[in-house]
Structure formats: C-alpha cells, structure tokens
Symmetry: D2
Subunit: 307 residues, 4 copies
C-alpha cells in the first residue's frame, strides 16, 4: 500500500485515524491498531482484556475506560493497584489539578499537602477521605478468601458514584484483576483492615479463573484479544495467561513508550511474544509507540464512530 | 485548572484537542501547543518559522506543511536536506510504499532496488529519475553564489508539481533554509553539478538574512515564533538565530521524541533555552513528547477548524 | 564543581567511576550513584533494599546480585516473578544463548522450542525441567499460608545450586518479596501445586513485614535505602513501603531507561517522590538513565574495590 | 554463544568490557562495539571516521577524542558546529560547572550570566572571550574559499592550547568536517568576520574531498569505518558519503539514545543502512543504545589496554 499524504481539514477523529493508517511510523500504527480493535469487538464470543498501567485515572482517561465497559468492548481488566486506588479516590471526590512541573518545588508541595504525578497534583486530604470510605466498604464485605477480581467486584457494588470504573465494571460483570494488589494504597488499606478480621486476598484464584477460562474458550473455539496500555505486570499477566491452555491471543494491541532494546518485557515487541506462543501467526498484532494519553482517547473516539 | 475526564465520542479533531488540554502528560501538551500556535498565527506581524527534521515527507506529512504555507501560517522553513530531497523526488513521481519492518530483509531490499525508512520503502529508480530532473533544473539556474534559501527558491520556481513543498514555498514567498544542504542527496547532486559550472552555495548568507531580519523585527517591535518538528540542526539553527539581535522567540513549540537527560540539544527543554536567551519569561513555550506523525496532523487539523 | 575531562587509559572500574563523577549527564550519574550506595553500605543499621525488574537473570546479572547479598550490601529484595523464575530455571540447568534479533524469525524459534528475550533465547525444555523440579520442592513445603518472602525462603533452602539468588538469599537471611508472584511461571506452578494441597500465598503478609519493620527502624533511629533496577511494581512497592510509618528512604538510587514525561511511576523522578514523602530533603537520591546491564555491573565492580 | 554471568570484582575496564560481551542487551553491545573498533584500528589502510553530535565537549569527553587522534585511530571527524565551538571556547579558558537541573531557575541563570546544557553551565563571559579570540584568528587566515575542513585546519594551526581537539587534529592531519558550520556560534562568528573580508566557506568542497577519497580507496582496495556518537547531520553525512562511489563502510558503530520506531535517521538501525548500500553483508555493524558519556569513555579506555 502506498503512503497517502495526510490531508488536514475539519474532520472527525475517525476520519483522522483512517487517514493516519496510510501514513507511516506511529500515525500508521494508530490506524492499524484501531482496525484490529474494531475486528476484535466484532468477533462474537471473543473475550476482550484491557491492561492498565501508568497513571491513567489521574490523567483523565477514566471515561474512555468506562465507555468501553458500557459498550461491552471489554470483559476483563488487568490493572495496577494504583489505577484502582485513584479510581476509588476519585469516586469519593478526589480532584487532580494541572501544574507546571518545571515551576514547582516538591518539598514545597509536600508541606502544602499535595502529591505529584508529573504534571498533576492531588491533595493528601482527599486520600485520607478515600481511606475512610474504603475502610467503611471493607467492613461491609463478608469475611473469607477472595480473588482480586472478587474483591474488586464487592467494592464496586458498594460504590455510589457512577463515574467509577470499579462501580461500572461491577454493574457490567467485568472482572478487574489486580495481580499486585498489595502494591498500592488500596492494598495497604486492605492490609490494615485485615488486621482485625478474617479476610484475605488469594491471587492464585485470579490465575485459576483466567486459566480455566482459556481452556473453556479453547473448547468453545472462541478467541481472546487484548488492548494493553503501558507494560508492567498487567502486560505480562495478560500475555502469560494463555500459556497453560496453549491458546494464543488472536488480537493484541499495545500502546507504550517503552522500547525493546533494553530487554524488559514492558518494551518487548509482540513479535517476540510469538516465540513464547502468547500470540501466533494468525494473530493480529500492533504496537503503538506513543503516550497512552494521546493514542487511547483517539482510538476510543474513533471506535465510537464505528459502532 | 482541574483535570477533566476526556469524553470519547464522535467529535472533530479540534474538539479532541480542546478536550486533551484538560487532561495530563502529552495529551495536555497537544492541547497547549495548539493554543500557542493559534496565538502565534493571530499575532499580526509575527514571523513564523517551521523546523523540519525526521522523515516527514516519506511519512505523508507534506500536505500538512503545504497547507500551513498556503494559509500564511509559515514564513520561513528550516529543514534537513533529506526532507527537501524527498519533496523533490516526490514531485517527480517517487512513491513510498508501506512495509512491515519485522518481515523484510534489508539485503534483499537492496537487491530489489528499494531504500528503507523504517516502515516505508521507495525505489532507487525514482531516485535516479529525480536526479536527472534536478540536474536539468540546476542547468537553468544562473551561475553565481546563492544562500540555500535563494537556491531553494530558484528550484521551486521550476517545479511543475503543485504538491511540492519547494514549489508552494516559492509561490508564497516562504524562504526554505537548509543549513546542511550538502548533507543530502540534493546536496550531492548540487556538488556534481557545480563541478562544471561556477555556481555555489554560501550558507553564511542564510545566517545573514535571518540575523538582519531579527534586527529589523526588533526595531519594528514584531515577534518571532516557531514550530519545531524533531530536533537536530533545524532546532539549533532556529533557536540560535535570535541570539545576535538578542530577541527571544515569543512562541516556541517543539514536537519531539528525544529527551533532556542525555544532554543533546535535540532533547533539551525549552526551559533550558531561557538561560541562553533564546526564549524568555514572556515566551509561550511547549514541548510535546510524541512522534510528529501523530501530533503534527492533529494540530494542523485542529488549527484548520479554528481559522 | 567543574567538569574534568575524562582521561582514557588502562584503569580499574573504580577509577573509571571516580572519573565519571566529574563529567556530565549519565556518566556523572553513575559516579554519584556509586558514592550514594557506598554511603548506604557504610551506614550501620541501614536496611538496604534491592528492586529487580527487567530480564536481569537472563542477561547475566545474577552474580552481581549474589555478590551484593554475600557482601551484606542487601537485606531485602523486591522482585518481579520473572526474575525469580529465571533464577530457579538457571539453578536447574537453563542456559541463555545469545542470538541476533534482526536475523531470527519468532515463529521459527517457536517451532524449534526457543523462547526469546530480545537478544537471548532459552529452550522450552529447560523450562519444563524447571517446572518438574519446582513441583518437587513445593511438595516438600508444609501446608499453610505464606508471605511471598517466606515461600521464597522455603524454596531457597531446598535449592542445591549455590549460584542461585534464591538459595544464597535464604543462606544469608535476605528476604525476597515478590509482590506479583502469580504474574510469573513460578506463580503458575504454585497455582497448579495448590490445586491439591492447602497451601497459599498471602501477599498482605509481605506488606505487614515491611511496614512493621519501618516502624521498628523509626524507633531505633535506623535508616532505609534502596537500589532500584528498572521500575514497575518493585519500584512502587519499595517506595510506598515507607508511607505508613512516614519514614522516608535516606538513600535511593534508580537505574532506568524510562522517562518522566509520560507520567508512569516507573519513569517518575525521585524528586517527585519527595512530594509523597517517600524520600525527603535529607535523602541522597540519584537516577541513572541507562540500561541496567551496563550501569549495574559497573557500579557493583566499583563497590567491590571500595570495600 | 551462551550468556556468562558477569563477575563483579576489582578489574580493569577492558576486563569489564570483555565480560560484558557475554551478557545481553546493551552491555553485550558495548563488548561487541569495542571488538569491531579494535578490528577497524587493526585494518591497515582503513580510513576511520568519527561522528560527533551531542554536547560531548561540555560533558568532559574531549580527552577521549584527542587520545583517539593521537593514537591514529581517527582520520576524519564529522562534527556539529556546537562541539567545535565548545572546543575552541574551552581552549581559550571556558569552564563547565556541574549544577543540579532540578534546583535551578533558567531565568535566574540568564540574569547571572550562565548558559545551561542539562546539568552543566558555562559563563557567557567566557563565550565573549572566545569570540574575541576567534575573530583574531580569522584575521590571520588568508582570504579565499575554504571547505570546512580546510577552515578548521587553519584555525587549529593557530590554537596554542594543546588540549584542543581542533589543534590536535591539525597537528595530526585529521580532517574536521562541519557540514552545518553556520549552525553554531563559531559559524555566526565566521559570518560576522566575513562581512568585511572576501572569505567564505564552501561545504561542497567537503563533499568533494570525501567522495573522491572514496573512489581512491575503492581503487586501492582499502576500507572505511566509522564510530558515530549520537545521530543527526554527522551520522547522515558519514553514511551518505559512500553512496556515490558505491563503497559501503566495512565497520560501523553507533552509540545513540534515539530509536528506530519514530522514523528519523538518527535512530535508524544500521540494518536499515544495508538497504541503501551504506553498509553491506560484509560490514561489521553494532548499535549501542546508551548515553555516549557512559559508553564512549568505557570503549576508549578498553581500547587503550588493547593497543
């Protein structure tokens, strides 16, 4: 296919994306990724997994995630604990304020009670408020052993704010797996709570769920697909989940700023994943090297026009 | 300003950009950069400079550049030789074909007569054709000493294809400065041609033009502003051009994938430029860390809606 | 301090590092990081935490880690599951073979039974062998609930190979915390094993250990310090561990290739960590932007000369 | 070849590099790059070209470059104007002072008379002194037309300071080509000087020199090789210089922090260069993804032990 010059004009985001597909480098990748995700969504029976890492909630990406859930474009979320912590905090009133990173002093922020995430800050007070609210929710959950997705579901059912990913996921029966739950303020709050009660998280149960699901899907001849924002544990967890049943993902899109040459899994190409059997020759794969705050809202907006 | 959740929906690119401004990280930067460029364009009398590096023409970015010229959003272009070489080749029929970089063998491409630029290739034959055409054009240019912008203007006047940046720049009296002209196939062609005739390039004349322009603008109390795609020589040339007249750029937007921590000018922050007096406290500056093939067509499309 | 020209000559790695400190950019950072780690090691009573992410074991970094443990430079390791999986596989005979990533086909590797990690491959057979061995070890461990560091200690005590990080850590009473244990082949093996027996991992117990340790250290007026290779969950876990006791790390060195501008915690500056109270104004902090395979062996070799 | 665990210990830099070769990722690349450069140096008759971009002189890398020249490891330098400007300034007394980029304000630096390059600053006064000295030198140079390497040679002969790259290059008959000379303060100074005298730079003469050299070398069956620090114009110029004579470089090592996926030549792989005929199947090529301030002094120090 020949490169076609991109025509700038008043146009919708989907038109933008369709044009990008005929350019080169990462604009082209955004075009290809959107097409793959469109196919994934149209694939009836395909189980669709969203991987979340990076500070997506503080960066204003919540509605994109919620929208995907409501549209049934997502069946399972695998997330860092931080994104779920921020979602809960936000659902209890936390605000993120834009700042200029070059013009602030971090010790000064500390004194004034602000925590910084690159160019946004939030108040330590809202975090305290969140902690109180989460403790209240934990108290309403029965004692016992939970997978992280069961726990997130229990929490979600008790959130009132309908702009919460955790709540909307619970409403729509989307499982949220947090493979390193204790690596977050939400995890710390859970640890505090579990001091006094017989309640605990068993992350092997998340593995159990996902691996058995893969065996079932294999028998039913159904596909899996994934959109991975960032890398880290969510990427690894989503890709390794298909190894036991030996059932490569049919669709895999990653949006990342990391790179292959330093050898970490976060930056590893999806080509490399073929050697492991995480994807195979039939898989449609695409890696967009771009800040997810840029590529993700573009792709979701374009998909909104297509469906 | 609080972060506002980005709302995915059918929307125009300008709506996308306006929403991005209230998010974080580089989406926010795209929003801010567009606003700064809007102000720059509205600033009557402001001389607006576009810096071009990276393989923008092969990537399908030509029409965005041409459109900016036609809209009078650009007065001067500072470019690598490669982009101008590709523009001329394209105006004589060169095509760029999309390929999958993981699936090709570069020695094989060599045998088949293709040159690769990451995920696009062009034929060595069209390059030969370009060379013949450029030699013909050179023959029509009078002997003498030229600044690079005078030479590019002479070439532009002789290009028939109206989808050529060089032609459209000549039509619109936009100067194209190529500070390292000999560092390109166009430069090599010029060297070949100059073997037999008394014609030469004197790049000090480009400096002369730009520095004197700055003194004039200072007297007339007019501003300069710049949009820099990539880094390299164009970035340095555009920023240093204001030093002699001590007249900092009022507007400066960079779209780059390079980074500050390795100390090169390409990745240097625009904050750092303040210490040199290239911009000052009144300057509106913004650096978008993103593939230019993604951010540039978005910004130009958004500006098209605003004007 | 003025920059001093680096003098190339036959010299030891420590001389190299001492010279680097007086240069700029990341060479300077390697010099500063080594000095901070030297101070951390000399700080009697300081609890020293090593964060491991990225494919360090396949890349030949095991002996550097083992050496640090034996020298008592490390008290706690926080690792991805993958590094511990590779350590165990290696202790049972897995080899990593260098390949040229540009010259291989990943589907071909798959057929031949090799898994690729950028420019090294290992055989799927050795992984199977590892799995058998690990299952055997699991059977020898009593039923019950374990923190990840207790489980890793149980495993370590049963490894015969003295070139195993897990074994040497057990020998030296170094705790290995794996906050996302289930996100690894080791985790999958544990899940398989736990199908038939009443054995489980409770990661809240790792948090419990680390948070209580921080309260104790605070009372005893002792410091903590950390060397973080890569980012991801290990970085976040190490930094968040001091929040509950409000006891910032006194020393923090990160070696990473990620960057701040995309907003993820992996690339966040240690300056930003001050706003959270993870480090404070007394902390000695340094971030080296470099492939850990380059900077880590240099730093450890230099430290070997200093002690 | 199997990966061998790196053994940390008191060792020379060459031992470090030899060990690195058997690891993975960029440590391995440093080992391979050093071996290729060793072969290049041993190849009698090979013309060896050093590419310089990034702020190498301010970063303390001068002595490494000077040492290579004195050892006859370099025949031609292709450099940005900035590095040559800094070399001259330094030879007239300019100092670079280490600063903490997070703790300074660039407007404040401006007021105090300092120019910043990431984490080093120099005084604007020394730059003025440099300018006076350079003007004095220019006056001693005969009127006429110069290639950049002829001009640099004229300048070099008039520098007294023996720690100057420009001086030592002149002493050792090493040509310094600066393809974008006007893109630097040295270029601006030359422009000022040329206002009053009939002296000018013709960069086509550098092309002429290099292209004819390649035809001669082809006839004499001699090789070319290159070590490229950074990317930019020097990289492109060095690689394109072999196209006319169709004589691929036999050795090519690049040390860069840029990356392929954004399509710019600076980050392009040396594999891609094969499609252009800049290197071929016999070429020994290696790209080290690392800050040059780290990899370059290591490699030069290791080479010092080998010769």
């Amino acid at each position: 296919m020949n490169v076609k010059d991109f025509q700038p004009k008043k146009q919708t985001v989907n038109d933008l994306v369709r044009q990008m597909k005929f350019t080169a480098f990462n604009a082209r990748k955004i075009g290809e990724a959107t097409d793959i995700l469109e196919q994934m969504i149209k694939d009836k029976g395909c189980v669709k997994i969203l991987g979340l890492s990076g500070a997506l909630v503080p960066a204003g990406m919540s509605s994109c995630i919620i929208d995907m859930i409501k549209n049934k474009w997502i069946d399972i979320i695998v997330s860092t604990g931080a994104n779920m912590t921020h979602d809960l905090a936000k659902s209890f009133g936390e605000k993120f304020e834009q700042i200029e990173p070059e013009k602030i002093d971090d010790l000064d922020l500390r004194k004034k009670g602000f925590d910084r995430i690159y160019d946004v800050v939030s108040s330590t007070k809202t975090m305290e408020m969140m902690e109180k609210n989460v403790q209240k929710i934990f108290k309403e959950i029965k004692e016992g052993e939970y997978s992280t997705h069961e726990l997130m579901n229990e929490i979600g059912k008790k959130i009132e704010n309908k702009n919460s990913i955790v709540r909307i996921a619970a409403d729509n029966n989307v499982k949220i797996i947090v493979p390193a739950l204790m690596d977050s303020i939400l995890g710390i709050q859970f640890w505090m709570h579990s001091q006094d009660r017989s309640i605990r998280v068993n992350e092997a149960k998340d593995l159990d769920y996902l691996i058995k699901l893969n065996f079932d899907l294999k028998e039913e001849n159904r596909n899996t697909g994934t959109l991975i924002l960032g890398g880290g544990v969510p990427k690894n967890f989503i890709l390794q989940s298909v190894l036991v049943a030996d059932k490569p993902h049919r669709y895999a899109v990653q949006i990342t700023t990391e790179r292959p040459e330093f050898g970490g899994l976060s930056g590893a190409t999806l080509e490399e994943a073929k050697s492991w059997g995480k994807v195979d020759e039939k898989s449609k794969i695409c890696c967009v090297y771009c800040d997810a705050t840029v590529a993700f809202p573009i792709i979701v907006s374009a998909l909104k026009e297509r469906f």
